[in-house]
Symmetry: C2
Subunit: 249 residues, 2 copies
DNA sequence: TCATGTGAAAACGTTCACAGCA
DNA sequence: TGCTGTGAACGTTTTCACATGA
Protein backbone atom coordinates (compact mmCIF):
# COMPACT_ATOMS: atom_id res chain seq x y z
CA UNK A 1 0.00 0.00 0.00
CA UNK A 2 3.11 2.12 -0.18
CA UNK A 3 3.50 3.86 -3.54
CA UNK A 4 5.46 1.26 -5.56
CA UNK A 5 6.71 -2.27 -4.95
CA UNK A 6 9.06 -3.00 -7.82
CA UNK A 7 11.52 -5.32 -6.02
CA UNK A 8 10.93 -7.73 -3.18
CA UNK A 9 12.01 -6.05 0.03
CA UNK A 10 14.57 -8.59 1.23
CA UNK A 11 15.51 -8.23 4.86
CA UNK A 12 18.56 -6.00 5.31
CA UNK A 13 20.89 -6.87 8.21
CA UNK A 14 21.79 -4.10 10.62
CA UNK A 15 25.48 -4.44 9.82
CA UNK A 16 24.70 -3.68 6.19
CA UNK A 17 22.49 -0.73 7.06
CA UNK A 18 25.32 1.12 8.73
CA UNK A 19 27.58 0.52 5.76
CA UNK A 20 25.16 1.72 3.11
CA UNK A 21 25.52 5.42 3.98
CA UNK A 22 29.27 4.95 3.77
CA UNK A 23 28.93 3.65 0.23
CA UNK A 24 26.68 6.64 -0.51
CA UNK A 25 29.36 9.07 0.56
CA UNK A 26 31.93 7.28 -1.58
CA UNK A 27 29.65 7.16 -4.58
CA UNK A 28 28.82 10.83 -4.34
CA UNK A 29 32.53 11.67 -4.24
CA UNK A 30 33.31 9.40 -7.15
CA UNK A 31 30.58 11.08 -9.16
CA UNK A 32 31.92 14.52 -8.33
CA UNK A 33 35.37 13.40 -9.41
CA UNK A 34 34.08 12.26 -12.77
CA UNK A 35 33.79 8.48 -12.45
CA UNK A 36 30.52 7.03 -13.57
CA UNK A 37 31.11 3.35 -12.83
CA UNK A 38 32.72 1.70 -9.86
CA UNK A 39 33.78 -1.84 -9.00
CA UNK A 40 33.20 -3.62 -5.71
CA UNK A 41 36.95 -3.60 -5.26
CA UNK A 42 37.18 0.18 -5.48
CA UNK A 43 34.27 0.66 -3.13
CA UNK A 44 35.82 -1.82 -0.74
CA UNK A 45 39.19 -0.11 -0.71
CA UNK A 46 37.68 3.29 -0.04
CA UNK A 47 35.35 1.98 2.63
CA UNK A 48 38.20 -0.07 4.08
CA UNK A 49 36.24 -3.31 3.95
CA UNK A 50 36.35 -6.61 2.06
CA UNK A 51 35.16 -6.62 -1.57
CA UNK A 52 32.95 -9.66 -1.06
CA UNK A 53 31.20 -7.78 1.70
CA UNK A 54 30.42 -4.92 -0.63
CA UNK A 55 28.94 -7.30 -3.18
CA UNK A 56 26.86 -9.09 -0.58
CA UNK A 57 25.61 -5.80 0.81
CA UNK A 58 24.63 -4.48 -2.58
CA UNK A 59 23.12 -7.74 -3.77
CA UNK A 60 20.68 -7.50 -0.86
CA UNK A 61 19.12 -4.50 -2.55
CA UNK A 62 18.93 -6.14 -5.97
CA UNK A 63 21.17 -6.97 -8.89
CA UNK A 64 22.35 -3.57 -9.92
CA UNK A 65 25.80 -4.36 -11.20
CA UNK A 66 27.06 -5.33 -14.62
CA UNK A 67 29.39 -8.32 -14.76
CA UNK A 68 32.75 -7.43 -16.19
CA UNK A 69 32.14 -3.73 -15.63
CA UNK A 70 30.95 -2.87 -12.15
CA UNK A 71 28.16 -0.63 -10.88
CA UNK A 72 26.73 2.54 -12.34
CA UNK A 73 27.46 5.04 -9.60
CA UNK A 74 24.47 7.31 -10.09
CA UNK A 75 22.01 4.46 -10.42
CA UNK A 76 23.43 2.69 -7.42
CA UNK A 77 23.11 5.83 -5.32
CA UNK A 78 19.47 6.13 -6.21
CA UNK A 79 18.84 2.51 -5.28
CA UNK A 80 20.55 2.84 -1.93
CA UNK A 81 18.62 6.02 -1.23
CA UNK A 82 15.45 4.08 -1.87
CA UNK A 83 16.50 1.23 0.40
CA UNK A 84 17.41 3.65 3.18
CA UNK A 85 14.19 5.58 2.76
CA UNK A 86 16.14 8.75 2.05
CA UNK A 87 13.96 9.43 -0.97
CA UNK A 88 11.24 10.63 1.39
CA UNK A 89 11.12 13.99 3.17
CA UNK A 90 12.97 14.00 6.49
CA UNK A 91 12.36 17.16 8.48
CA UNK A 92 14.95 17.44 11.25
CA UNK A 93 14.76 19.59 14.37
CA UNK A 94 17.90 20.66 16.21
CA UNK A 95 17.63 21.60 19.86
CA UNK A 96 20.46 23.64 21.33
CA UNK A 97 21.91 26.33 19.08
CA UNK A 98 25.38 26.72 20.52
CA UNK A 99 28.58 26.08 18.62
CA UNK A 100 27.62 22.49 17.99
CA UNK A 101 24.09 23.25 16.83
CA UNK A 102 25.37 25.89 14.44
CA UNK A 103 28.00 23.55 13.10
CA UNK A 104 25.31 20.96 12.43
CA UNK A 105 22.93 23.37 10.72
CA UNK A 106 25.61 24.56 8.36
CA UNK A 107 27.27 21.20 7.91
CA UNK A 108 27.84 20.01 4.37
CA UNK A 109 26.79 16.50 5.29
CA UNK A 110 23.32 17.76 6.05
CA UNK A 111 21.54 19.20 3.09
CA UNK A 112 23.81 17.36 0.67
CA UNK A 113 22.00 14.14 1.40
CA UNK A 114 18.48 15.51 1.28
CA UNK A 115 17.80 16.13 4.93
CA UNK A 116 15.89 19.28 5.73
CA UNK A 117 16.40 21.51 8.73
CA UNK A 118 12.79 22.08 9.73
CA UNK A 119 13.17 23.80 13.08
CA UNK A 120 15.74 25.09 15.56
CA UNK A 121 15.16 25.48 19.27
CA UNK A 122 16.95 27.06 22.19
CA UNK A 123 16.01 28.66 25.48
CA UNK A 124 18.55 31.48 25.52
CA UNK A 125 16.65 34.76 24.83
CA UNK A 126 19.74 36.05 23.08
CA UNK A 127 19.49 33.27 20.53
CA UNK A 128 15.74 32.84 20.13
CA UNK A 129 14.61 34.84 17.13
CA UNK A 130 18.00 34.76 15.45
CA UNK A 131 18.15 33.39 11.96
CA UNK A 132 20.61 30.50 11.63
CA UNK A 133 20.99 28.92 8.25
CA UNK A 134 17.58 28.45 6.66
CA UNK A 135 15.32 29.00 9.67
CA UNK A 136 14.72 31.16 12.70
CA UNK A 137 15.42 29.83 16.19
CA UNK A 138 12.28 29.30 18.24
CA UNK A 139 11.92 28.98 21.97
CA UNK A 140 12.06 25.36 23.09
CA UNK A 141 8.57 25.69 24.54
CA UNK A 142 7.22 25.81 21.00
CA UNK A 143 8.67 22.37 20.37
CA UNK A 144 5.58 20.46 21.45
CA UNK A 145 3.34 22.15 18.94
CA UNK A 146 5.60 22.00 15.90
CA UNK A 147 6.49 18.38 16.45
CA UNK A 148 2.92 17.30 17.08
CA UNK A 149 1.98 18.74 13.75
CA UNK A 150 4.20 16.09 12.16
CA UNK A 151 6.68 18.75 11.21
CA UNK A 152 9.59 16.83 12.73
CA UNK A 153 10.75 13.29 11.97
CA UNK A 154 14.13 13.28 13.64
CA UNK A 155 15.20 15.23 16.71
CA UNK A 156 18.84 16.18 17.20
CA UNK A 157 19.94 17.01 20.73
CA UNK A 158 22.86 19.45 20.79
CA UNK A 159 22.39 20.93 24.25
CA UNK A 160 24.71 20.76 27.27
CA UNK A 161 24.53 17.43 29.07
CA UNK A 162 22.45 18.87 31.89
CA UNK A 163 19.53 19.70 29.59
CA UNK A 164 19.62 16.62 27.39
CA UNK A 165 17.19 14.39 29.27
CA UNK A 166 14.62 17.16 29.56
CA UNK A 167 14.87 17.86 25.86
CA UNK A 168 14.56 14.17 25.03
CA UNK A 169 11.40 13.99 27.12
CA UNK A 170 9.94 16.97 25.34
CA UNK A 171 10.73 15.52 21.92
CA UNK A 172 9.27 12.13 22.79
CA UNK A 173 6.16 13.68 24.27
CA UNK A 174 5.79 15.64 21.07
CA UNK A 175 5.75 12.38 19.14
CA UNK A 176 9.28 12.30 17.75
CA UNK A 177 10.42 8.68 17.63
CA UNK A 178 13.97 9.10 16.30
CA UNK A 179 16.54 10.88 18.43
CA UNK A 180 20.15 11.64 17.69
CA UNK A 181 21.99 12.67 20.83
CA UNK A 182 25.20 14.69 20.71
CA UNK A 183 25.17 15.48 24.42
CA UNK A 184 27.46 13.38 26.59
CA UNK A 185 24.60 12.02 28.65
CA UNK A 186 22.82 8.68 28.83
CA UNK A 187 19.18 9.17 27.98
CA UNK A 188 16.17 7.26 29.23
CA UNK A 189 13.52 6.94 26.55
CA UNK A 190 10.74 4.44 25.84
CA UNK A 191 11.83 1.22 24.21
CA UNK A 192 10.30 1.99 20.82
CA UNK A 193 12.10 5.27 20.40
CA UNK A 194 15.07 5.00 18.07
CA UNK A 195 18.07 6.50 19.87
CA UNK A 196 21.63 6.93 18.68
CA UNK A 197 24.59 8.63 20.31
CA UNK A 198 27.28 10.67 18.65
CA UNK A 199 29.93 11.16 21.24
CA UNK A 200 33.48 12.45 20.98
CA UNK A 201 34.51 10.83 24.21
CA UNK A 202 33.24 7.41 23.16
CA UNK A 203 35.14 7.65 19.89
CA UNK A 204 38.30 8.77 21.62
CA UNK A 205 38.12 5.87 24.03
CA UNK A 206 37.75 3.39 21.21
CA UNK A 207 40.74 4.93 19.45
CA UNK A 208 42.81 4.82 22.59
CA UNK A 209 42.02 1.14 22.97
CA UNK A 210 43.32 0.26 19.55
CA UNK A 211 46.33 2.51 19.76
CA UNK A 212 47.40 1.24 23.17
CA UNK A 213 46.82 -2.33 22.09
CA UNK A 214 49.11 -1.76 19.17
CA UNK A 215 51.69 -0.17 21.44
CA UNK A 216 51.52 -3.25 23.65
CA UNK A 217 52.03 -5.58 20.70
CA UNK A 218 55.06 -3.63 19.59
CA UNK A 219 56.44 -3.62 23.12
CA UNK A 220 55.85 -7.38 23.36
CA UNK A 221 57.89 -7.83 20.19
CA UNK A 222 55.22 -9.95 18.54
CA UNK A 223 54.10 -7.23 16.19
CA UNK A 224 54.55 -7.02 12.49
CA UNK A 225 57.30 -4.80 11.27
CA UNK A 226 55.07 -2.38 9.39
CA UNK A 227 55.99 0.21 12.02
CA UNK A 228 55.78 3.96 11.50
CA UNK A 229 57.63 5.69 8.65
CA UNK A 230 54.68 5.65 6.23
CA UNK A 231 54.45 7.90 3.24
CA UNK A 232 50.88 8.52 2.19
CA UNK A 233 51.14 10.40 -1.06
CA UNK A 234 54.85 10.38 -1.66
CA UNK A 235 55.98 8.03 -4.37
CA UNK A 236 55.19 4.36 -3.77
CA UNK A 237 58.27 2.20 -4.07
CA UNK A 238 56.41 -0.74 -5.50
CA UNK A 239 55.56 -2.29 -2.16
CA UNK A 240 52.10 -3.62 -1.51
CA UNK A 241 49.62 -1.08 -2.91
CA UNK A 242 46.46 -1.01 -0.83
CA UNK A 243 43.76 1.40 0.19
CA UNK A 244 45.24 4.79 -0.59
CA UNK A 245 45.33 3.99 -4.28
CA UNK A 246 41.78 5.08 -4.80
CA UNK A 247 42.53 8.59 -3.66
CA UNK A 248 40.37 11.20 -5.32
CA UNK A 249 41.57 14.28 -7.19
CA UNK B 1 57.41 -5.69 29.94
CA UNK B 2 54.64 -3.12 30.38
CA UNK B 3 54.43 -1.88 33.96
CA UNK B 4 52.12 -4.48 35.53
CA UNK B 5 50.54 -7.71 34.35
CA UNK B 6 48.04 -8.66 37.03
CA UNK B 7 45.38 -10.28 34.80
CA UNK B 8 45.81 -12.20 31.58
CA UNK B 9 44.95 -9.89 28.68
CA UNK B 10 42.16 -11.93 27.11
CA UNK B 11 41.28 -10.89 23.57
CA UNK B 12 38.51 -8.27 23.53
CA UNK B 13 36.11 -8.37 20.55
CA UNK B 14 35.54 -5.15 18.65
CA UNK B 15 31.84 -5.21 19.48
CA UNK B 16 32.70 -5.17 23.14
CA UNK B 17 35.24 -2.40 22.73
CA UNK B 18 32.62 -0.01 21.41
CA UNK B 19 30.28 -0.83 24.27
CA UNK B 20 32.84 -0.31 27.04
CA UNK B 21 32.86 3.49 26.73
CA UNK B 22 29.08 3.39 26.91
CA UNK B 23 29.28 1.56 30.20
CA UNK B 24 31.80 4.14 31.36
CA UNK B 25 29.42 6.97 30.69
CA UNK B 26 26.67 5.16 32.57
CA UNK B 27 28.92 4.38 35.50
CA UNK B 28 30.13 7.94 35.79
CA UNK B 29 26.53 9.16 35.84
CA UNK B 30 25.52 6.59 38.42
CA UNK B 31 28.40 7.67 40.61
CA UNK B 32 27.41 11.30 40.32
CA UNK B 33 23.85 10.41 41.27
CA UNK B 34 25.01 8.68 44.42
CA UNK B 35 24.93 4.98 43.56
CA UNK B 36 28.04 3.05 44.39
CA UNK B 37 27.08 -0.41 43.13
CA UNK B 38 25.30 -1.44 39.98
CA UNK B 39 23.88 -4.69 38.62
CA UNK B 40 24.29 -6.02 35.11
CA UNK B 41 20.55 -5.54 34.72
CA UNK B 42 20.71 -1.83 35.49
CA UNK B 43 23.66 -1.32 33.18
CA UNK B 44 21.87 -3.26 30.49
CA UNK B 45 18.68 -1.23 30.76
CA UNK B 46 20.54 2.08 30.54
CA UNK B 47 22.73 0.92 27.68
CA UNK B 48 19.67 -0.61 25.99
CA UNK B 49 21.29 -4.03 25.63
CA UNK B 50 20.85 -7.51 27.01
CA UNK B 51 22.03 -8.16 30.59
CA UNK B 52 23.91 -11.32 29.60
CA UNK B 53 25.83 -9.22 27.11
CA UNK B 54 26.90 -6.83 29.83
CA UNK B 55 28.12 -9.69 31.99
CA UNK B 56 30.01 -11.28 29.10
CA UNK B 57 31.60 -7.97 28.19
CA UNK B 58 32.72 -7.29 31.73
CA UNK B 59 33.88 -10.83 32.38
CA UNK B 60 36.32 -10.42 29.50
CA UNK B 61 38.20 -7.89 31.60
CA UNK B 62 38.22 -10.06 34.71
CA UNK B 63 35.91 -11.05 37.54
CA UNK B 64 35.09 -7.73 39.09
CA UNK B 65 31.54 -8.32 40.31
CA UNK B 66 30.22 -9.65 43.59
CA UNK B 67 27.59 -12.36 43.33
CA UNK B 68 24.37 -11.36 44.93
CA UNK B 69 25.34 -7.68 44.89
CA UNK B 70 26.60 -6.45 41.55
CA UNK B 71 29.60 -4.35 40.56
CA UNK B 72 31.34 -1.60 42.46
CA UNK B 73 30.88 1.35 40.12
CA UNK B 74 34.10 3.19 40.88
CA UNK B 75 36.24 0.08 40.78
CA UNK B 76 34.64 -1.07 37.56
CA UNK B 77 35.29 2.29 35.94
CA UNK B 78 38.95 2.06 36.83
CA UNK B 79 39.18 -1.44 35.38
CA UNK B 80 37.53 -0.44 32.13
CA UNK B 81 39.79 2.60 31.88
CA UNK B 82 42.73 0.25 32.18
CA UNK B 83 41.39 -2.11 29.54
CA UNK B 84 40.75 0.78 27.16
CA UNK B 85 44.16 2.27 27.83
CA UNK B 86 42.55 5.49 29.02
CA UNK B 87 44.78 5.50 32.07
CA UNK B 88 47.62 6.72 29.87
CA UNK B 89 48.09 10.26 28.59
CA UNK B 90 46.27 10.94 25.34
CA UNK B 91 47.22 14.27 23.80
CA UNK B 92 44.70 15.21 21.13
CA UNK B 93 45.10 17.74 18.34
CA UNK B 94 42.12 19.37 16.70
CA UNK B 95 42.50 20.76 13.21
CA UNK B 96 39.89 23.26 12.07
CA UNK B 97 38.73 25.75 14.69
CA UNK B 98 35.32 26.70 13.34
CA UNK B 99 32.06 26.15 15.15
CA UNK B 100 32.64 22.41 15.27
CA UNK B 101 36.22 22.64 16.49
CA UNK B 102 35.19 25.04 19.24
CA UNK B 103 32.33 22.82 20.26
CA UNK B 104 34.74 19.89 20.53
CA UNK B 105 37.35 21.78 22.53
CA UNK B 106 34.78 22.90 25.05
CA UNK B 107 32.78 19.69 25.06
CA UNK B 108 32.09 18.13 28.42
CA UNK B 109 32.77 14.69 27.05
CA UNK B 110 36.36 15.65 26.42
CA UNK B 111 38.28 16.47 29.55
CA UNK B 112 35.80 14.55 31.70
CA UNK B 113 37.30 11.30 30.49
CA UNK B 114 40.90 12.29 30.78
CA UNK B 115 41.67 13.32 27.23
CA UNK B 116 43.89 16.33 26.87
CA UNK B 117 43.65 19.01 24.21
CA UNK B 118 47.29 19.33 23.28
CA UNK B 119 47.11 21.54 20.20
CA UNK B 120 44.72 23.42 17.94
CA UNK B 121 45.34 24.26 14.31
CA UNK B 122 43.73 26.41 11.67
CA UNK B 123 44.85 28.34 8.62
CA UNK B 124 42.61 31.39 9.00
CA UNK B 125 44.83 34.31 10.12
CA UNK B 126 41.88 35.68 12.06
CA UNK B 127 41.84 32.55 14.19
CA UNK B 128 45.52 31.68 14.50
CA UNK B 129 46.83 33.12 17.75
CA UNK B 130 43.44 33.14 19.41
CA UNK B 131 43.16 31.32 22.70
CA UNK B 132 40.40 28.68 22.62
CA UNK B 133 39.83 26.70 25.77
CA UNK B 134 43.16 25.67 27.25
CA UNK B 135 45.48 26.39 24.31
CA UNK B 136 46.33 28.89 21.61
CA UNK B 137 45.50 28.14 17.98
CA UNK B 138 48.58 27.58 15.84
CA UNK B 139 48.94 27.74 12.10
CA UNK B 140 48.44 24.35 10.49
CA UNK B 141 51.96 24.53 9.08
CA UNK B 142 53.28 24.01 12.61
CA UNK B 143 51.50 20.69 12.73
CA UNK B 144 54.38 18.62 11.40
CA UNK B 145 56.77 19.71 14.10
CA UNK B 146 54.48 19.35 17.11
CA UNK B 147 53.23 15.97 16.08
CA UNK B 148 56.70 14.65 15.26
CA UNK B 149 57.75 15.49 18.77
CA UNK B 150 55.26 12.88 19.99
CA UNK B 151 53.04 15.63 21.31
CA UNK B 152 49.97 14.26 19.53
CA UNK B 153 48.45 10.79 19.81
CA UNK B 154 45.09 11.36 18.18
CA UNK B 155 44.24 13.81 15.42
CA UNK B 156 40.73 15.19 15.10
CA UNK B 157 39.74 16.62 11.72
CA UNK B 158 37.09 19.32 12.01
CA UNK B 159 37.73 21.21 8.79
CA UNK B 160 35.44 21.70 5.82
CA UNK B 161 35.28 18.65 3.57
CA UNK B 162 37.51 20.24 0.96
CA UNK B 163 40.49 20.44 3.33
CA UNK B 164 40.06 17.11 5.06
CA UNK B 165 42.29 14.93 2.89
CA UNK B 166 45.11 17.42 2.96
CA UNK B 167 44.92 17.63 6.74
CA UNK B 168 44.83 13.85 7.03
CA UNK B 169 47.98 13.62 4.91
CA UNK B 170 49.72 16.17 7.09
CA UNK B 171 48.76 14.35 10.26
CA UNK B 172 49.88 10.99 8.93
CA UNK B 173 53.14 12.40 7.65
CA UNK B 174 53.69 13.85 11.09
CA UNK B 175 53.39 10.37 12.54
CA UNK B 176 49.85 10.47 13.93
CA UNK B 177 48.35 6.99 13.56
CA UNK B 178 44.85 7.59 14.96
CA UNK B 179 42.48 9.90 13.12
CA UNK B 180 38.97 10.92 13.99
CA UNK B 181 37.28 12.56 11.04
CA UNK B 182 34.27 14.86 11.46
CA UNK B 183 34.41 16.15 7.90
CA UNK B 184 31.93 14.63 5.46
CA UNK B 185 34.66 13.26 3.25
CA UNK B 186 36.07 9.82 2.58
CA UNK B 187 39.75 9.80 3.45
CA UNK B 188 42.54 7.76 1.94
CA UNK B 189 45.14 6.83 4.51
CA UNK B 190 47.65 3.98 4.85
CA UNK B 191 46.23 0.69 6.04
CA UNK B 192 47.78 0.82 9.47
CA UNK B 193 46.33 4.19 10.36
CA UNK B 194 43.34 3.89 12.64
CA UNK B 195 40.52 5.94 11.11
CA UNK B 196 37.02 6.57 12.38
CA UNK B 197 34.26 8.77 11.01
CA UNK B 198 31.78 10.82 12.96
CA UNK B 199 29.22 11.93 10.47
CA UNK B 200 25.84 13.53 10.92
CA UNK B 201 24.64 12.48 7.51
CA UNK B 202 25.54 8.83 8.07
CA UNK B 203 23.67 8.82 11.36
CA UNK B 204 20.64 10.49 9.81
CA UNK B 205 20.54 7.95 7.02
CA UNK B 206 20.61 5.07 9.46
CA UNK B 207 17.80 6.65 11.45
CA UNK B 208 15.75 7.21 8.34
CA UNK B 209 16.13 3.56 7.40
CA UNK B 210 14.74 2.34 10.68
CA UNK B 211 11.99 4.90 10.81
CA UNK B 212 10.83 4.28 7.29
CA UNK B 213 10.99 0.55 7.82
CA UNK B 214 8.77 0.96 10.82
CA UNK B 215 6.39 3.12 8.82
CA UNK B 216 6.24 0.40 6.19
CA UNK B 217 5.42 -2.25 8.77
CA UNK B 218 2.65 -0.14 10.19
CA UNK B 219 1.30 0.51 6.71
CA UNK B 220 1.45 -3.21 5.94
CA UNK B 221 -0.65 -3.88 9.03
CA UNK B 222 1.80 -6.47 10.35
CA UNK B 223 3.18 -4.23 13.05
CA UNK B 224 2.72 -4.46 16.74
CA UNK B 225 0.27 -2.08 18.29
CA UNK B 226 2.80 -0.21 20.39
CA UNK B 227 2.17 2.79 18.19
CA UNK B 228 2.76 6.37 19.26
CA UNK B 229 1.04 7.83 22.36
CA UNK B 230 3.93 7.18 24.73
CA UNK B 231 4.32 8.95 28.02
CA UNK B 232 7.94 9.03 29.12
CA UNK B 233 7.86 10.62 32.55
CA UNK B 234 4.18 10.98 33.15
CA UNK B 235 2.72 8.47 35.62
CA UNK B 236 3.12 4.86 34.54
CA UNK B 237 -0.22 3.07 34.56
CA UNK B 238 1.28 -0.23 35.58
CA UNK B 239 1.94 -1.40 32.05
CA UNK B 240 5.22 -3.08 31.16
CA UNK B 241 8.01 -1.14 32.86
CA UNK B 242 11.17 -1.23 30.78
CA UNK B 243 14.18 0.88 30.08
CA UNK B 244 13.16 4.29 31.32
CA UNK B 245 12.96 3.02 34.90
CA UNK B 246 16.63 3.60 35.51
CA UNK B 247 16.27 7.29 34.89
CA UNK B 248 18.69 9.43 36.86
CA UNK B 249 17.68 12.36 39.06
C1' DT C 1 38.23 -11.71 -19.92
C1' DC C 2 36.67 -9.54 -15.96
C1' DA C 3 33.71 -8.52 -12.19
C1' DT C 4 29.18 -9.62 -10.31
C1' DG C 5 26.12 -12.54 -7.56
C1' DT C 6 25.62 -16.31 -4.42
C1' DG C 7 25.67 -20.93 -2.15
C1' DA C 8 28.28 -23.04 1.45
C1' DA C 9 31.71 -22.85 5.18
C1' DA C 10 33.87 -20.52 8.70
C1' DA C 11 34.14 -17.00 12.07
C1' DC C 12 32.06 -14.21 15.13
C1' DG C 13 28.74 -12.38 18.40
C1' DT C 14 24.60 -13.00 21.21
C1' DT C 15 21.55 -15.25 24.20
C1' DC C 16 20.16 -18.95 27.16
C1' DA C 17 20.26 -21.30 31.21
C1' DC C 18 22.22 -22.57 35.20
C1' DA C 19 26.15 -23.71 38.37
C1' DG C 20 28.57 -21.31 41.87
C1' DC C 21 29.30 -18.04 45.26
C1' DA C 22 28.46 -13.97 48.53
C1' DT D 1 18.18 -15.41 48.08
C1' DG D 2 20.13 -12.79 44.32
C1' DC D 3 23.34 -11.81 40.95
C1' DT D 4 27.68 -12.99 38.70
C1' DG D 5 30.38 -15.77 35.50
C1' DT D 6 30.36 -18.98 31.79
C1' DG D 7 29.76 -23.35 28.86
C1' DA D 8 26.85 -24.51 25.21
C1' DA D 9 23.25 -23.41 21.75
C1' DC D 10 21.91 -20.34 18.61
C1' DG D 11 21.79 -16.67 15.19
C1' DT D 12 24.14 -13.47 12.41
C1' DT D 13 27.90 -11.79 9.63
C1' DT D 14 31.95 -12.48 7.07
C1' DT D 15 34.66 -14.76 3.89
C1' DC D 16 35.68 -18.04 0.39
C1' DA D 17 35.37 -19.81 -4.02
C1' DC D 18 33.32 -20.25 -8.21
C1' DA D 19 29.44 -20.44 -11.55
C1' DT D 20 27.35 -17.00 -14.35
C1' DG D 21 26.89 -13.50 -17.65
C1' DA D 22 28.10 -9.01 -20.00
Amino acid sequence: MTSENAERPRRIPEATVVRLPVYQRILSELLRSGSSTVSSEQLAAMARVNAAKVRKDLSLLGSFGTRGTGYDAAFLMAQIDKALGVDRDWPVAIVGIGNLGRALVNSEGFSSRGFRVAALYDIDPAVVGERVGPVTVEHADALAKTARDGEVSIGVIATPAAAAQEVADALVTAGVISLLNFAPRVLAVPADVQLRYVDLSIELQVMSFYQSRRADEVAAGGAVLRAVGLTPNQGADGGSPEASDYRLT
